[in-house]
């Protein structure tokens, strides 16, 4: 640790670390400085200039996010000069911004709007630049809308796409008054390497990048008496939704969420967790089959490591960036799409419904799931498997529109038939969760014993490190798995595509010999998904993760293969994992795409 230095802010002295910026020190001291381009997930840019403060002795103001403290620095955060300058900068941003707030999707959740309100920008003297520009709105992606007229050029999206995701679908282009956030040759987001992960949406302070919303379509379906509208909810939604409802971060709102969905008028409120458990059965079996083919049969077609396939952002990423590795992907559909395929087959049959009349809606922490539901191969039920995908944020909007007092709702339970789940499914929402769930089941299938971790909590795969490794040695397996005796099963977990890249490169360069790798596109896994409440930052992700593991710990069933509905569906419908029906409904194939 380096020596502390002394500074003063607004006349009060502080002893601080010299590496810290003025902004960090001020925040620690409880002094709020407005920011726009700053985000805790991202590197410092220092380009919006709204965080300026006065440093005694300097004529110019300092951008507090980008200025390190030095000894005896005297900082003033609330002088006339500072206030006037900040106000001026906000006015400038507003003049460049399509400030027709009432027609903006982000109305009420916009950082620029908040600042404008705080600084009481009552009149607009400056000339509205929006009228002088040919702004375009890109609506071609099924996941993301990019509206340049709302962009304030803070570059948070660009940094997100580069630093968190390593995708670089967005970049800063041109200079001066033409400077803009652009894709390659200004193509549509749908025609470039964009993975639809929505992290840019989650990090955008304004309405320049938003999810494509399907709220009206869902309302319409619900109102149609002819339709049987079912909804599935992903594990991460229940630990995020509360934030949109004014409930403290990290609160589990599963029961209230179910109650709200019933109030909204869905005919059946079901759980993606059910198909998460099913995923474990399928994917676990697939892994063991691959291991057998690779280790016993020496089948060159059995590719290891096997990568998980739950995260559609990750799928699109690997299709673009590592198309040569598509055979390493598990062929399992994501839980959302397994659910969709079963909804219009198994569910329809069991409930004696015409699949034509079923509208299958999902609520996801994710924008990439919207794109996924549009994939041409996702019609295995004979219909479009999932009709509409809503984000956590869209669900919150619907709940508010319906006039539901969410905080006061009584807790309700998911409906049956595809509503039962285990703790293993819940943790799908956190990075490492799929791995942990798979190990709980696979180890037990192979050895007949529970995984050798206290309370089934496989601690090595938990946490927020970008890449985590774990291994488990299989001892005394059951007869049929004897070839695995003594095998050290090597696993890795990565979240955030920039970390996925690290794993992919390590595997490519033979620096790692994993058998099984879990990859989630978003930092923190689905709980930090692009469709989750805004803001999402490292601290919020930690708290949502804590809630997820709590949810797991309180579940009566902790292992996927013990989910009674899973047992039932294999008995009544699917017959066996990786069986013929599974193959048709629950597995898929992938499309190589261009990297450049």
């Amino acid at each position: 640790m380096s020596k502390k230095i002394s500074i003063s802010i607004n006349g009060i002295s502080y002893e601080v670390d010299p590496e810290k910026t003025i902004l960090e020190v001020a925040n620690d001291a409880g002094i709020i400085i407005p920011t726009l381009c700053y985000h805790k997930d991202l590197c410092v840019a220092g380009n919006c200039r709204v965080c300026v403060v006065e440093v005694v002795g300097q004529t110019r103001l300092a951008a507090s996010c980008a200025t390190p403290c030095h000894d005896n620095m005297e900082i003033l955060t609330n002088t006339l000069k500072v206030r006037n300058s900040r106000k001026h900068i906000i006015e400038l941003l507003l003049s460049e911004h399509n400030a027709d707030c009432t027609k903006c999707y982000k109305n009420g959740n916009c950082e620029l709007q908040e600042l404008a309100a705080e600084y009481k920008i009552m009149s607009q003297d400056l000339i509205e630049l929006v009228n002088h520009k040919n702004y375009t709105i890109d609506m071609y992606s099924p996941s993301i809308i990019k509206d340049d007229s709302r962009c304030i050029r803070c570059q948070r999206c660009v940094r997100t796409c580069a630093e968190l995701q390593g995708v670089n679908a967005l970049a800063v282009a041109y200079k001066g008054d033409h400077m803009k956030i652009s894709t390659f040759f200004e193509k549509s987001m749908n025609d470039v390497v964009c993975t639809n992960c929505g992290q840019c949406v989650n990090h955008c302070p304004t309405g320049a990048l938003i999810e494509k919303n399907y709220i009206e379509e869902v309302w319409e379906a619900i109102s149609d008496p002819e339709k049987h509208v079912i909804v599935q909810t992903a594990p991460a939604v229940r630990v995020g939704l509360g934030e949109e409802m004014g409930i403290e971060v990290g609160t589990r709102v599963t029961g209230r969420m179910v109650a709200a969905l019933k109030n909204l008028g869905f005919d059946s409120v079901l759980d993606t967790d059910f198909t998460a458990d099913l995923t474990i059965m399928e994917e676990g079996t697939e892994l063991l089959t691959r291991l057998k083919k690779a280790l016993v049969d020496n089948d060159p077609k059995a590719k290891l490591p096997m990568y998980t396939s739950c995260s559609p952002g990750w799928i699109k990423y690997i299709e673009h960036m590592y198309p040569e590795s598509l055979d390493n992907l598990s062929t399992c559909k994501s839980p959302q799409q397994m659910f969709g395929a079963l909804a219009k087959t198994y569910y329809a049959k069991s409930r004696k419904l015409d699949p034509e009349k079923i509208v299958s809606v999902s609520v996801m922490p994710c924008t990439a799931k919207k794109f996924e539901s549009y994939r041409p191969e996702m019609h295995d039920s004979g219909y479009r498997d999932v009709d509409y995908v809503l984000t956590t944020r869209e669900l919150a909007i619907m709940i508010k529109q319906a006039g539901i007092d969410f905080k006061k709702l009584p807790e309700k339970k998911f409906d049956r038939l595809m509503g039962e789940s285990s703790g293993a499914a819940v943790i799908f929402g956190a990075t490492g969760g799929v791995m942990e769930a798979a190990l709980r089941t696979a180890y037990e299938l192979v050895t007949g014993r529970e995984v050798p971790f206290e309370n089934l909590n496989i601690a090595p795969v938990r946490g927020m490190d970008g890449v985590r490794e774990a291994s488990i040695t299989i001892e005394k397996p059951l007869e049929q798995w004897s070839f695995l005796d003594g095998v050290e099963l090597k696993c890795a977990v990565a979240h955030g595509l920039v970390n996925a890249k690290k794993v992919m490169e390590a595997v490519k360069n033979h620096e790692a010999d994993y058998h099984f790798v879990e990859i989630m596109a978003c930092p923190g896994g689905c709980l930090g998904g692009g469709g989750q409440p805004i803001p999402t930052n490292p601290e919020i992700r930690e708290r949502r993760a804590k809630a997820i593991y709590e949810e797991d710990a309180f579940m009566p069933i902790r292992k996927s293969h013990q989910n009674p509905e899973v047992i039932k569906i294999y008995k009544d419908f699917l017959h066996k994992p990786m069986g013929e029906k599974s193959h048709k409904l629950l597995h898929t194939h992938y499309t190589p795409r261009k990297r450049y």
Binding site: A171, A173, Y174, S182, T183, F184, F185, Y596
Partner: protein, 154 residues
């Protein structure tokens, strides 16, 4: 396109394939082709292992790295203060009249493109223009006609 790939490969061999070699590579391509097409940017991105959007964003920052299709000869007339004072508009009119193109346009025979540019550093000999890398100063309409006639003959 095959020629371009080959050319880029050669360039990259000379300059290196790190990020700091991006500008020299882009400049090399523009030197040869007068502009950067989406295909050439893709090839450069591939060879330097950079994201295409990033290369595009970098290229568009620089006025001389055109991403629009340009003619064989790119005329850049200085529009900054001294040249503006000393008759830049006359020069532009002369060129427009002679080549039948407006600012930002390329002649139908793909020989000439006309652009304006910021200070070329010849204020004491204003007005000035560049045709590709060649500088022409102390321009008059007559002088411009002579210069262009030479290029047309080429």
């Amino acid at each position: 396109m095959d020629h371009t790939i080959e050319y880029i490969s050669e360039l990259v061999k000379k300059t290196g394939r790190k990020r700091e070699h991006l500008l020299p590579v882009l400049q090399g391509v523009v030197q040869r082709e007068n502009c950067l097409s989406d295909e050439t940017i893709i090839e450069i991105a591939r060879q330097l292992d950079l994201p295409t959007a990033d290369v595009y964003g970098t290229a568009t920052f620089y006025s001389f790295l055109e991403t629009q299709k340009m003619g064989k000869y790119v005329i850049r007339v200085c529009k900054t203060i001294t040249c503006a004072m000393k008759g830049k508009n006359q020069i532009l009119l002369t060129i427009e009249d002679m080549l039948k193109i407006g600012i930002g346009e390329t002649s139908t025979d793909k020989q000439f493109s006309l652009l304006q540019t910021n200070c070329l550093g010849w204020c004491h000999k204003a007005p000035a223009m560049l045709i590709n890398d060649e500088v022409y100063t102390e321009l008059t309409p007559e002088k411009v006609r002579e210069i262009l006639s030479e290029y047309i003959k080429k």
